[in-house]
Subunit: 154 residues, 3 copies
Protein backbone atom coordinates (compact mmCIF):
# COMPACT_ATOMS: atom_id res chain seq x y z
CA UNK A 1 0.00 0.00 0.00
CA UNK A 2 1.31 3.46 -0.84
CA UNK A 3 1.88 6.24 1.70
CA UNK A 4 -1.00 8.20 0.15
CA UNK A 5 -3.31 5.19 0.62
CA UNK A 6 -2.18 4.67 4.23
CA UNK A 7 -2.84 8.35 4.91
CA UNK A 8 -6.43 7.89 3.74
CA UNK A 9 -6.87 4.78 5.89
CA UNK A 10 -5.70 6.77 8.91
CA UNK A 11 -8.30 9.42 8.09
CA UNK A 12 -5.61 12.06 7.55
CA UNK A 13 -7.11 13.47 4.38
CA UNK A 14 -7.51 17.14 5.21
CA UNK A 15 -3.86 18.04 5.54
CA UNK A 16 -3.27 21.77 5.41
CA UNK A 17 0.34 22.86 5.78
CA UNK A 18 0.77 25.63 8.36
CA UNK A 19 2.76 28.73 7.45
CA UNK A 20 6.34 29.37 8.58
CA UNK A 21 6.62 31.50 11.75
CA UNK A 22 9.16 33.90 10.22
CA UNK A 23 11.21 34.83 7.14
CA UNK A 24 12.00 31.29 5.94
CA UNK A 25 10.67 28.45 3.78
CA UNK A 26 8.69 25.43 5.00
CA UNK A 27 11.23 23.23 3.21
CA UNK A 28 14.27 23.42 0.93
CA UNK A 29 15.35 20.66 -1.43
CA UNK A 30 18.98 20.11 -2.42
CA UNK A 31 19.73 17.15 -4.67
CA UNK A 32 17.51 14.31 -3.44
CA UNK A 33 17.31 15.64 0.14
CA UNK A 34 14.39 17.68 1.43
CA UNK A 35 15.13 19.68 4.60
CA UNK A 36 11.99 20.50 6.61
CA UNK A 37 11.66 23.49 8.94
CA UNK A 38 10.65 22.95 12.56
CA UNK A 39 6.95 22.23 13.19
CA UNK A 40 4.85 22.53 16.36
CA UNK A 41 1.71 20.48 17.17
CA UNK A 42 -1.57 21.40 15.48
CA UNK A 43 -3.96 23.83 17.21
CA UNK A 44 -6.54 22.36 19.61
CA UNK A 45 -9.90 24.15 19.48
CA UNK A 46 -8.23 26.82 17.37
CA UNK A 47 -5.45 27.47 19.89
CA UNK A 48 -1.82 26.34 19.59
CA UNK A 49 -0.91 24.08 22.54
CA UNK A 50 1.27 25.87 25.11
CA UNK A 51 3.19 24.56 28.12
CA UNK A 52 6.03 22.36 29.30
CA UNK A 53 6.31 18.59 29.44
CA UNK A 54 6.57 17.58 33.07
CA UNK A 55 4.39 20.51 34.18
CA UNK A 56 1.39 21.34 31.93
CA UNK A 57 1.76 18.11 29.94
CA UNK A 58 2.47 14.48 30.90
CA UNK A 59 4.59 12.08 28.86
CA UNK A 60 1.36 10.55 27.56
CA UNK A 61 0.15 14.01 26.47
CA UNK A 62 3.56 14.44 24.86
CA UNK A 63 3.11 11.32 22.74
CA UNK A 64 -0.09 12.76 21.27
CA UNK A 65 1.54 16.17 20.77
CA UNK A 66 4.49 14.55 18.96
CA UNK A 67 2.09 12.67 16.70
CA UNK A 68 0.29 15.95 16.00
CA UNK A 69 3.52 17.79 15.11
CA UNK A 70 4.40 14.85 12.88
CA UNK A 71 1.12 15.32 11.00
CA UNK A 72 2.27 18.92 10.44
CA UNK A 73 5.59 17.66 9.08
CA UNK A 74 3.80 15.23 6.77
CA UNK A 75 1.54 18.03 5.54
CA UNK A 76 4.60 20.14 4.76
CA UNK A 77 6.25 17.27 2.88
CA UNK A 78 3.07 16.65 0.90
CA UNK A 79 2.68 20.31 -0.01
CA UNK A 80 6.28 20.46 -1.17
CA UNK A 81 6.27 17.24 -3.20
CA UNK A 82 2.67 17.05 -4.41
CA UNK A 83 2.46 13.44 -3.20
CA UNK A 84 3.90 11.47 -0.28
CA UNK A 85 4.63 8.68 -2.74
CA UNK A 86 7.71 10.65 -3.83
CA UNK A 87 9.29 9.93 -0.41
CA UNK A 88 12.07 7.34 -0.85
CA UNK A 89 13.27 7.28 2.75
CA UNK A 90 12.71 9.27 5.90
CA UNK A 91 16.32 10.02 6.86
CA UNK A 92 16.37 11.94 10.13
CA UNK A 93 13.87 13.13 12.73
CA UNK A 94 14.92 15.56 15.45
CA UNK A 95 12.66 16.44 18.35
CA UNK A 96 12.98 19.41 20.72
CA UNK A 97 10.79 19.04 23.79
CA UNK A 98 9.95 22.04 25.97
CA UNK A 99 10.52 20.45 29.39
CA UNK A 100 11.17 21.07 33.04
CA UNK A 101 14.79 20.14 33.95
CA UNK A 102 13.75 16.82 35.57
CA UNK A 103 11.87 15.40 32.57
CA UNK A 104 13.13 11.99 31.41
CA UNK A 105 10.51 10.42 29.10
CA UNK A 106 11.85 11.86 25.82
CA UNK A 107 11.96 8.51 24.02
CA UNK A 108 8.35 7.71 24.91
CA UNK A 109 7.20 11.12 23.66
CA UNK A 110 9.08 10.93 20.35
CA UNK A 111 7.70 7.46 19.65
CA UNK A 112 4.37 9.25 19.08
CA UNK A 113 5.94 10.70 15.93
CA UNK A 114 8.09 7.69 14.99
CA UNK A 115 5.10 5.33 15.22
CA UNK A 116 3.09 7.56 12.85
CA UNK A 117 5.96 7.60 10.33
CA UNK A 118 6.08 3.79 10.45
CA UNK A 119 2.29 3.61 9.94
CA UNK A 120 2.28 6.00 6.98
CA UNK A 121 5.54 5.14 5.20
CA UNK A 122 6.26 1.56 6.29
CA UNK A 123 9.97 0.65 5.97
CA UNK A 124 10.58 4.00 4.18
CA UNK A 125 9.53 5.68 7.42
CA UNK A 126 12.32 4.17 9.54
CA UNK A 127 14.66 7.04 10.45
CA UNK A 128 17.69 8.09 12.45
CA UNK A 129 16.49 10.04 15.50
CA UNK A 130 17.61 12.40 18.19
CA UNK A 131 15.67 14.23 20.87
CA UNK A 132 16.53 16.83 23.50
CA UNK A 133 14.69 18.69 26.24
CA UNK A 134 15.02 22.41 25.65
CA UNK A 135 14.60 25.42 27.96
CA UNK A 136 12.02 27.20 25.80
CA UNK A 137 10.32 27.21 22.39
CA UNK A 138 8.61 29.90 20.30
CA UNK A 139 5.27 31.00 21.77
CA UNK A 140 5.70 28.40 24.50
CA UNK A 141 4.76 25.42 22.31
CA UNK A 142 5.44 22.07 24.04
CA UNK A 143 7.59 20.61 21.26
CA UNK A 144 8.85 20.99 17.71
CA UNK A 145 10.01 18.43 15.15
CA UNK A 146 12.28 18.86 12.15
CA UNK A 147 13.29 16.31 9.54
CA UNK A 148 15.37 15.40 6.51
CA UNK A 149 13.75 13.22 3.83
CA UNK A 150 15.16 11.55 0.70
CA UNK A 151 12.85 12.08 -2.27
CA UNK A 152 12.66 10.93 -5.85
CA UNK A 153 12.61 13.42 -8.68
CA UNK A 154 9.24 13.91 -10.30
CA UNK B 1 23.37 41.78 -8.18
CA UNK B 2 25.73 39.14 -6.81
CA UNK B 3 26.06 38.20 -3.14
CA UNK B 4 29.54 39.72 -3.10
CA UNK B 5 28.15 43.01 -4.45
CA UNK B 6 25.30 43.02 -1.92
CA UNK B 7 27.81 42.43 0.86
CA UNK B 8 29.70 45.57 -0.23
CA UNK B 9 26.48 47.61 -0.37
CA UNK B 10 25.71 46.54 3.21
CA UNK B 11 29.19 47.71 4.22
CA UNK B 12 30.20 44.20 5.29
CA UNK B 13 33.61 44.31 3.66
CA UNK B 14 35.92 43.52 6.55
CA UNK B 15 34.82 39.99 7.19
CA UNK B 16 37.29 38.06 9.31
CA UNK B 17 36.28 34.49 10.14
CA UNK B 18 36.65 33.70 13.85
CA UNK B 19 38.51 30.57 14.92
CA UNK B 20 36.77 27.38 16.08
CA UNK B 21 36.41 27.11 19.89
CA UNK B 22 37.87 23.58 20.04
CA UNK B 23 39.32 20.68 18.06
CA UNK B 24 37.15 20.96 14.96
CA UNK B 25 36.89 22.69 11.57
CA UNK B 26 34.92 25.85 10.79
CA UNK B 27 33.24 23.95 7.95
CA UNK B 28 33.32 20.60 6.14
CA UNK B 29 32.18 20.07 2.56
CA UNK B 30 30.77 16.77 1.32
CA UNK B 31 29.59 16.65 -2.29
CA UNK B 32 27.86 19.98 -2.92
CA UNK B 33 26.91 20.51 0.73
CA UNK B 34 28.90 22.72 3.08
CA UNK B 35 28.25 22.06 6.80
CA UNK B 36 29.09 25.06 9.00
CA UNK B 37 30.07 24.82 12.67
CA UNK B 38 28.11 26.78 15.28
CA UNK B 39 28.87 30.52 15.45
CA UNK B 40 28.23 33.05 18.24
CA UNK B 41 27.69 36.82 17.78
CA UNK B 42 30.71 39.04 17.09
CA UNK B 43 32.51 40.70 20.00
CA UNK B 44 31.26 44.13 21.12
CA UNK B 45 34.07 46.48 22.20
CA UNK B 46 36.41 43.48 22.08
CA UNK B 47 34.26 41.35 24.39
CA UNK B 48 32.05 38.42 23.35
CA UNK B 49 28.41 39.12 24.32
CA UNK B 50 27.34 37.11 27.38
CA UNK B 51 23.91 36.58 28.93
CA UNK B 52 20.45 35.10 28.47
CA UNK B 53 17.57 36.25 26.28
CA UNK B 54 14.73 37.25 28.58
CA UNK B 55 17.15 38.41 31.30
CA UNK B 56 20.29 40.28 30.09
CA UNK B 57 18.94 40.65 26.55
CA UNK B 58 15.51 41.56 25.12
CA UNK B 59 14.02 40.04 21.97
CA UNK B 60 15.04 43.22 20.12
CA UNK B 61 18.63 42.78 21.36
CA UNK B 62 18.36 39.18 20.23
CA UNK B 63 17.49 40.22 16.68
CA UNK B 64 20.72 42.23 16.48
CA UNK B 65 22.72 39.39 18.05
CA UNK B 66 21.27 36.90 15.54
CA UNK B 67 22.24 39.22 12.69
CA UNK B 68 25.73 39.47 14.16
CA UNK B 69 26.13 35.69 14.45
CA UNK B 70 24.89 35.43 10.86
CA UNK B 71 27.70 37.77 9.77
CA UNK B 72 30.06 35.30 11.44
CA UNK B 73 28.48 32.44 9.47
CA UNK B 74 28.80 34.40 6.23
CA UNK B 75 32.47 35.12 7.01
CA UNK B 76 33.07 31.40 7.55
CA UNK B 77 31.34 30.53 4.26
CA UNK B 78 33.38 33.15 2.42
CA UNK B 79 36.65 31.96 3.91
CA UNK B 80 35.83 28.38 2.95
CA UNK B 81 34.66 29.08 -0.60
CA UNK B 82 36.77 32.10 -1.57
CA UNK B 83 33.63 33.92 -2.76
CA UNK B 84 29.99 34.01 -1.66
CA UNK B 85 29.05 33.80 -5.33
CA UNK B 86 29.71 30.06 -5.12
CA UNK B 87 26.62 29.69 -2.88
CA UNK B 88 23.83 28.02 -4.87
CA UNK B 89 21.27 27.83 -2.07
CA UNK B 90 21.19 28.35 1.66
CA UNK B 91 19.62 25.05 2.75
CA UNK B 92 19.15 25.08 6.53
CA UNK B 93 19.65 27.51 9.40
CA UNK B 94 19.42 26.30 13.00
CA UNK B 95 19.41 28.71 15.93
CA UNK B 96 20.09 27.89 19.58
CA UNK B 97 19.07 30.73 21.89
CA UNK B 98 20.36 30.90 25.46
CA UNK B 99 17.10 31.78 27.22
CA UNK B 100 15.23 31.83 30.48
CA UNK B 101 12.51 29.13 30.55
CA UNK B 102 9.72 31.67 29.87
CA UNK B 103 11.17 33.17 26.67
CA UNK B 104 8.82 33.00 23.65
CA UNK B 105 10.13 35.40 20.97
CA UNK B 106 12.40 32.88 19.18
CA UNK B 107 10.95 33.58 15.72
CA UNK B 108 11.46 37.34 16.06
CA UNK B 109 15.08 36.83 17.15
CA UNK B 110 15.95 34.43 14.33
CA UNK B 111 14.48 36.77 11.74
CA UNK B 112 17.51 38.96 12.47
CA UNK B 113 19.60 36.28 10.78
CA UNK B 114 17.05 35.23 8.14
CA UNK B 115 16.54 38.83 7.02
CA UNK B 116 20.29 39.27 6.51
CA UNK B 117 20.48 36.08 4.43
CA UNK B 118 17.65 37.39 2.23
CA UNK B 119 19.45 40.74 1.84
CA UNK B 120 22.79 39.17 0.92
CA UNK B 121 21.75 36.14 -1.12
CA UNK B 122 18.28 37.06 -2.44
CA UNK B 123 16.21 33.97 -3.36
CA UNK B 124 19.31 31.78 -2.80
CA UNK B 125 19.18 32.89 0.83
CA UNK B 126 15.73 31.42 1.52
CA UNK B 127 16.25 28.48 3.90
CA UNK B 128 14.57 25.84 6.03
CA UNK B 129 14.79 26.93 9.67
CA UNK B 130 14.49 25.69 13.20
CA UNK B 131 15.13 27.40 16.51
CA UNK B 132 15.17 26.31 20.13
CA UNK B 133 15.78 27.94 23.50
CA UNK B 134 18.61 26.14 25.25
CA UNK B 135 19.65 25.96 28.92
CA UNK B 136 23.23 27.13 28.36
CA UNK B 137 25.86 27.85 25.71
CA UNK B 138 29.68 27.91 25.70
CA UNK B 139 31.09 30.85 27.64
CA UNK B 140 27.55 32.07 28.26
CA UNK B 141 27.04 33.49 24.75
CA UNK B 142 23.41 34.50 24.10
CA UNK B 143 22.97 32.44 20.91
CA UNK B 144 24.65 30.32 18.27
CA UNK B 145 23.74 29.61 14.65
CA UNK B 146 24.72 26.70 12.43
CA UNK B 147 23.92 26.11 8.77
CA UNK B 148 24.04 23.86 5.73
CA UNK B 149 24.68 25.49 2.35
CA UNK B 150 24.61 24.09 -1.21
CA UNK B 151 27.65 25.27 -3.18
CA UNK B 152 28.90 25.02 -6.74
CA UNK B 153 32.27 23.48 -7.50
CA UNK B 154 34.97 25.98 -8.37
CA UNK C 1 47.50 3.54 9.57
CA UNK C 2 43.83 2.72 9.00
CA UNK C 3 41.00 3.65 11.36
CA UNK C 4 40.54 -0.05 12.19
CA UNK C 5 44.23 -0.30 13.13
CA UNK C 6 44.08 2.85 15.27
CA UNK C 7 41.04 1.46 17.04
CA UNK C 8 43.05 -1.63 17.98
CA UNK C 9 45.98 0.48 19.22
CA UNK C 10 43.57 2.40 21.45
CA UNK C 11 42.34 -0.91 22.85
CA UNK C 12 38.81 -0.29 21.56
CA UNK C 13 38.31 -3.77 20.19
CA UNK C 14 35.16 -4.93 21.93
CA UNK C 15 32.74 -2.47 20.39
CA UNK C 16 29.13 -3.48 20.85
CA UNK C 17 26.56 -1.09 19.40
CA UNK C 18 23.80 -0.25 21.89
CA UNK C 19 20.16 -0.52 20.79
CA UNK C 20 18.00 2.48 19.87
CA UNK C 21 15.86 3.82 22.76
CA UNK C 22 12.63 3.80 20.71
CA UNK C 23 11.03 3.09 17.33
CA UNK C 24 13.90 4.22 15.10
CA UNK C 25 17.12 3.03 13.43
CA UNK C 26 20.65 3.45 14.78
CA UNK C 27 21.58 4.99 11.44
CA UNK C 28 20.17 5.71 7.97
CA UNK C 29 22.27 6.08 4.83
CA UNK C 30 21.22 8.26 1.91
CA UNK C 31 23.63 8.52 -1.00
CA UNK C 32 27.11 8.72 0.54
CA UNK C 33 25.88 10.24 3.81
CA UNK C 34 25.28 8.19 6.95
CA UNK C 35 23.06 9.89 9.55
CA UNK C 36 23.60 8.57 13.08
CA UNK C 37 20.98 8.65 15.83
CA UNK C 38 21.78 10.30 19.15
CA UNK C 39 24.01 8.30 21.52
CA UNK C 40 24.54 8.61 25.29
CA UNK C 41 27.71 7.62 27.20
CA UNK C 42 28.35 3.92 27.88
CA UNK C 43 27.16 2.37 31.15
CA UNK C 44 29.53 2.53 34.14
CA UNK C 45 29.38 -0.61 36.34
CA UNK C 46 26.31 -1.65 34.36
CA UNK C 47 24.45 1.59 34.98
CA UNK C 48 23.89 4.41 32.46
CA UNK C 49 25.43 7.67 33.78
CA UNK C 50 22.78 10.10 35.06
CA UNK C 51 23.03 13.74 36.10
CA UNK C 52 23.73 17.27 34.95
CA UNK C 53 27.01 18.92 34.00
CA UNK C 54 27.68 21.67 36.53
CA UNK C 55 25.95 19.70 39.31
CA UNK C 56 26.58 15.92 39.37
CA UNK C 57 29.40 16.17 36.81
CA UNK C 58 32.31 18.58 36.33
CA UNK C 59 33.63 19.74 32.95
CA UNK C 60 36.46 17.22 33.35
CA UNK C 61 33.91 14.45 33.96
CA UNK C 62 32.08 15.74 30.90
CA UNK C 63 35.17 15.30 28.71
CA UNK C 64 35.31 11.61 29.64
CA UNK C 65 31.56 11.21 29.13
CA UNK C 66 31.80 12.82 25.68
CA UNK C 67 34.61 10.45 24.76
CA UNK C 68 32.46 7.55 25.98
CA UNK C 69 29.43 8.63 23.91
CA UNK C 70 31.77 9.01 20.94
CA UNK C 71 32.83 5.37 21.37
CA UNK C 72 29.11 4.52 21.14
CA UNK C 73 28.85 6.54 17.91
CA UNK C 74 31.90 4.77 16.49
CA UNK C 75 30.41 1.38 17.42
CA UNK C 76 27.19 2.32 15.59
CA UNK C 77 29.14 3.42 12.50
CA UNK C 78 31.15 0.20 12.53
CA UNK C 79 28.05 -1.96 12.90
CA UNK C 80 26.40 -0.14 10.02
CA UNK C 81 29.36 -0.19 7.63
CA UNK C 82 31.13 -3.41 8.61
CA UNK C 83 34.44 -1.53 8.83
CA UNK C 84 35.48 1.98 9.91
CA UNK C 85 37.77 2.05 6.87
CA UNK C 86 34.70 2.86 4.78
CA UNK C 87 34.53 6.31 6.46
CA UNK C 88 35.66 8.96 3.95
CA UNK C 89 35.08 11.99 6.16
CA UNK C 90 33.43 12.75 9.45
CA UNK C 91 31.15 15.62 8.41
CA UNK C 92 29.29 16.92 11.44
CA UNK C 93 29.22 16.26 15.18
CA UNK C 94 26.47 17.76 17.35
CA UNK C 95 26.56 17.58 21.13
CA UNK C 96 23.66 18.13 23.53
CA UNK C 97 24.84 18.57 27.12
CA UNK C 98 22.43 18.18 30.04
CA UNK C 99 23.51 21.22 32.08
CA UNK C 100 22.54 23.64 34.78
CA UNK C 101 21.78 27.10 33.30
CA UNK C 102 25.16 28.53 34.38
CA UNK C 103 27.37 25.91 32.69
CA UNK C 104 29.93 27.38 30.24
CA UNK C 105 32.55 24.69 29.48
CA UNK C 106 30.78 23.15 26.47
CA UNK C 107 33.81 23.37 24.17
CA UNK C 108 36.08 21.64 26.70
CA UNK C 109 33.54 18.82 27.13
CA UNK C 110 33.01 18.24 23.40
CA UNK C 111 36.75 18.10 22.79
CA UNK C 112 36.60 14.75 24.59
CA UNK C 113 34.72 13.45 21.55
CA UNK C 114 36.54 15.50 18.91
CA UNK C 115 39.95 14.38 20.18
CA UNK C 116 38.90 10.73 19.92
CA UNK C 117 37.71 11.22 16.34
CA UNK C 118 41.08 12.79 15.46
CA UNK C 119 42.90 9.84 17.09
CA UNK C 120 40.86 7.19 15.30
CA UNK C 121 40.27 8.76 11.89
CA UNK C 122 43.17 11.23 11.50
CA UNK C 123 42.37 14.00 8.97
CA UNK C 124 39.16 12.14 8.00
CA UNK C 125 37.99 12.72 11.59
CA UNK C 126 38.05 16.52 11.37
CA UNK C 127 34.44 17.67 11.50
CA UNK C 128 32.10 20.66 11.66
CA UNK C 129 30.77 20.92 15.21
CA UNK C 130 28.05 22.48 17.30
CA UNK C 131 27.16 22.05 20.95
CA UNK C 132 24.36 23.27 23.19
CA UNK C 133 23.40 22.93 26.84
CA UNK C 134 19.91 21.45 27.07
CA UNK C 135 17.30 21.45 29.85
CA UNK C 136 16.90 17.66 29.98
CA UNK C 137 17.74 14.41 28.20
CA UNK C 138 16.14 10.94 28.11
CA UNK C 139 16.55 9.05 31.39
CA UNK C 140 18.60 11.94 32.74
CA UNK C 141 21.76 11.05 30.79
CA UNK C 142 24.43 13.80 31.00
CA UNK C 143 24.91 14.21 27.24
CA UNK C 144 24.14 12.83 23.80
CA UNK C 145 26.03 13.05 20.50
CA UNK C 146 24.77 12.71 16.96
CA UNK C 147 26.71 12.79 13.70
CA UNK C 148 26.74 12.78 9.91
CA UNK C 149 29.49 10.82 8.17
CA UNK C 150 30.49 10.54 4.49
CA UNK C 151 31.10 6.92 3.51
CA UNK C 152 32.37 5.06 0.47
CA UNK C 153 30.22 2.40 -1.16
CA UNK C 154 31.33 -1.15 -0.45
Amino acid sequence: MSAEQRLKELGLTQLTASKPAGNYAAAVQTGNLLFLSGKAPQPIDGKPPKGKLGREYSAQDGRALARSACVELIAAIRQQLGSLDRVVQFVELHGSLNTVPEFEAHAEVLDGASDLLAEVFGPAGVHARSVVGVASLRNGVPLTLKAIVEVRQQ
